[in-house]
């Protein structure tokens, strides 16, 4: 109970911070003002990448013990990307708490810790879009396509963006 109160307060603070100065290309906030634990985010595709001109919708689900545990980020609908599961779930190191990774594949500094924030997560997602990490692919098909046939990968991404924009 105490924890969830902390989470609420912290989320409110982060929301205020984001309203005041949100980084370019990112809009985020609770989908319902009465429930701080579910956020809607809009992320625009970084320029000079296949994702350019796209606007992607994602939801952030916060656990009750936030900021001890990281939130879960899911793209709705999903997009073709090596680090995004076909169901839209995002797999990047900042969303993993240290200790989840038995291979110690990711550095502890890059992982989730209570000092990270929604803003940092979304910025990491932006950089993930411009630089996919095929070493630890979540979507294997996308990883293979990205590695072996870059033009086809870019074509498919662009096609889905056009589709999402209603063309």
């Amino acid at each position: 109970m105490i924890m969830s109160k902390t989470a609420q307060k912290r989320l409110l603070k982060e929301y205020q911070q984001l309203i005041r100065e949100s980084p370019p290309g990112i809009v985020a906030g609770p989908s319902d003002e009465n429930n701080m634990f579910e956020w809607d985010c809009l992320i625009s595709g970084p320029p000079e990448t296949p994702y350019e001109n796209g606007v992607f919708n994602a939801t952030l689900l916060f656990p009750k013990d936030y900021p001890l545990s990281p939130p879960k980020l899911t793209f709705t609908p999903s997009l073709l990307h090596p680090n995004i599961y076909p169901n839209g779930e995002v797999c990047i190191s900042i969303l993993h708490s240290p200790g989840d990774d038995p291979n110690m594949y990711e550095l502890a500094e890059e992982r989730w810790s209570p000092v990270q924030s929604v803003e940092k997560i979304l910025l990491s997602v932006m950089s993930m879009l411009s630089e996919p990490n095929i070493e630890s692919g979540a979507n294997i098909d996308a990883s293979i396509l990205y590695r072996d046939n870059r033009p086809e990968f870019e074509r498919q991404v662009k096609l889905s963006i056009l589709k999402s924009l209603g063309f």
């Binding site: 924890m3 902390t6 307060k9 912290r10 409110l12 603070k13 013990d65 900021p67 001890l68 545990s69 240290p98 200790g99 502890a108 500094e109 810790s113 209570p114 000092v115």
Partner: protein, 541 residues
């Protein structure tokens, strides 16, 4: 037991008076057995090279081995060379502290720092020492013990709790915080956030660092912050992750609530065991015997492969069929509901005094005197029911064997409850009959043998299920199974006796019956091994 071989595959034992096959156990010198065990014990403690013989461990071993003098021959007989050690988490914890003490003179840094280094290196001294000689200071920075001065100049602060008038914690966003905590790095957070953070991390078994950088919290810091010996919890979870990381050589005892860890230094010889269809059984300090390779209870005569596929099948089928094998049955004669509260399958209805078999619900008479027919699945019966499809046939076959398996599992549990009363029986023997403790041990021993017999019986049904029923050896195996089932029921009935006088009168019978069960268990296991070795057992799913 020299004539063991002569009859182990023959099924016509019953034609002879049973007495003929029992070794006169009562003639054996009990003290001799114990001496034997001490020799065995010394041999075991000698192998505790890495864990300097600890008095606790020795005690634990003494307790666990004195009670089972016969097992060496019957079950471990095939694998006397399996060297293993059993520890509790406390043993490992103490050993960790010893390691720290050993390293301290070499390192000349505080104990807490050595603990951190060892944690980082997964308690691998050699690797740590190697790296330590190569790059002392670098290592200290890597492990988060010393701050990296070159990286950036942060306002250096004092490690510890400080009192502040107005402080807004960047994590919980509370202002008017009074107490804060920070390490030398200067990342300052309120004490309650730190506490939540540490509590969350204690179970993960990794080094806990500052929330912002890789500077590590030492055990003393954790205790200071948490106002108590919380770091011990971290050490224990560190042990857990240590065991998980070294799962080649370490195994947790799979029994519920058992905190023992078994360590085998050299697992290369396992290949040989598997080739010969032996399983590497180990015994933990709490006298739980389990298979080191599959972490299951003792499953002979089945091997690990049969065990895992049987368990998988049981899980799958129970989803399909929703097995609710009830624990009560109606008396076949007077329909009174009967709950089975003892291990024996020979039921006597308390209302109508009808004697029947719990498994097949028919009269007990043919079971007791002649042959224990309940272990034999009658294939002919199925042939007459020509309408039944193939699928439901195999299902029915499985149902039968699963039922048998389950019955014996339930019986084993009840036997275990019986075991709880055995202690009391021994006590009353001591009080009423003036029997010495050592003399009363035949009860404990009988119970152990009964348990092992029952476990073997239970798993033998998995073997029969997978084996080719037309093969002669399978028939011999089933006969062996029936003999064991019979003898197990006999012994179980004997253990139900309540009055101390009768127990003492029947002491010889206890020895005889237990010895017989033991021999039958061994014979069944060997027969099962031969069955598997000859490829008669085929795993199909």
């Amino acid at each position: 037991m020299a004539n063991d071989e002569d009859y182990q595959y023959s099924s016509s034992d019953d034609d002879f008076p049973e007495q003929q096959y029992y070794e006169p156990l009562e003639h054996r010198d009990i003290t001799n057995n114990i001496l034997d065990d001490y020799e065995y014990l010394n041999y075991d403690t000698d192998s505790l090279e890495s864990f300097n013989s600890d008095v606790d461990i020795v005690d634990g071993m003494a307790v666990s081995h004195v009670t089972n003098p016969n097992k060496k021959r019957s079950i471990e007989g095939a694998m006397v060379n399996l060297k293993y050690e059993c520890f509790t988490t406390q043993d490992i914890f103490n050993n960790m502290l010893e390691k720290v003490d050993r390293l301290q003179p070499m390192f000349s840094i505080p104990r807490e720092d050595i603990i951190l280094l060892l944690q980082k290196y997964g308690w691998d001294e050699d690797r740590l020492l190697e790296d330590w000689t190569n790059k002392m200071d670098g290592l200290l920075i890597e492990a988060g013990i010393h701050i990296n001065n070159e990286q950036k100049e942060l306002p250096k602060s004092q490690r510890g709790i400080s009192n502040r008038d107005f402080f807004t914690c960047p994590i919980c966003c509370e202002d008017q915080i009074k107490e804060t905590y920070s390490l030398e790095c200067g990342h300052e957070y309120c004490i309650s956030c730190y506490r939540h953070y540490i509590e969350d991390r204690l179970n993960k078994g990794n080094i806990i660092t500052c929330m912002s950088c890789s500077l590590a919290l030492k055990n003393t810091d954790i205790d200071e912050l948490m106002n108590g010996p919380s770091s011990e919890k971290l050490m224990h979870s560190s042990i857990k992750s240590f065991v998980q990381k070294h799962n080649e050589n370490y195994r947790w005892c799979p029994f519920t609530d058992c905190k023992c860890i078994v360590h085998i230094q050299d697992t290369t010889e396992f290949v040989e065991y598997i080739r010969l269809h032996y399983s590497p059984y180990v015994l933990c300090n709490e006298s739980h015997r389990f298979c080191f390779s599959c972490s299951f209870e003792m499953h002979s005569p089945a091997d690990c492969e049969i065990t895992s596929s049987w368990i998988k099948k049981a899980k799958k089928e129970s989803d399909n069929l929703n097995w609710v094998l009830s624990h009560t049955k109606e008396c076949p004669k007077c329909s009174v509901n009967i709950e089975k509260n003892g291990g024996c399958n020979h039921m006597i209805c308390s209302s109508c005094k009808y004697e029947f078999c719990w498994i097949c619900n028919s009269d007990w008479k043919p079971h007791g005197s002649s042959f224990y027919q309940c272990t034999m699945y009658n294939n002919d019966e199925l042939k007459t029911q020509t309408v039944i499809e193939d699928v439901s046939k195999t299902l029915k076959r499985y149902t039968f064997f699963y039922r048998m398996f389950n019955e014996h599992e339930v019986s084993a549990k009840l036997d275990w409850q019986l075991g709880q009363t055995v202690g009391n029986k021994i006590k009353s023997l001591q009080e009423k009959m003036g029997v010495s403790w050592i003399e009363g041990q035949f009860l404990t021993e009988s119970l152990k043998i009964l348990n092992e017999g029952r476990t073997a019986l239970k798993w033998s049904f998995a073997v029969v299920f997978y084996s080719d029923s037309s093969h002669n050896l399978t028939k011999i195996f089933v006969d062996n199974q029936a003999l064991l089932a019979n003898s197990v029921e006999d012994l179980s009935a004997l253990l139900q006796i309540k009055s101390p006088e009768t127990i003492m009168e029947k002491k010889v019978e206890f020895y005889n019956k237990a010895g017989y069960v033991e021999n039958r268990t061994y014979a069944l296991m060997e027969c099962g091994r031969e069955l598997i070795s000859k490829g008669i057992v085929k795993i199909t799913n």
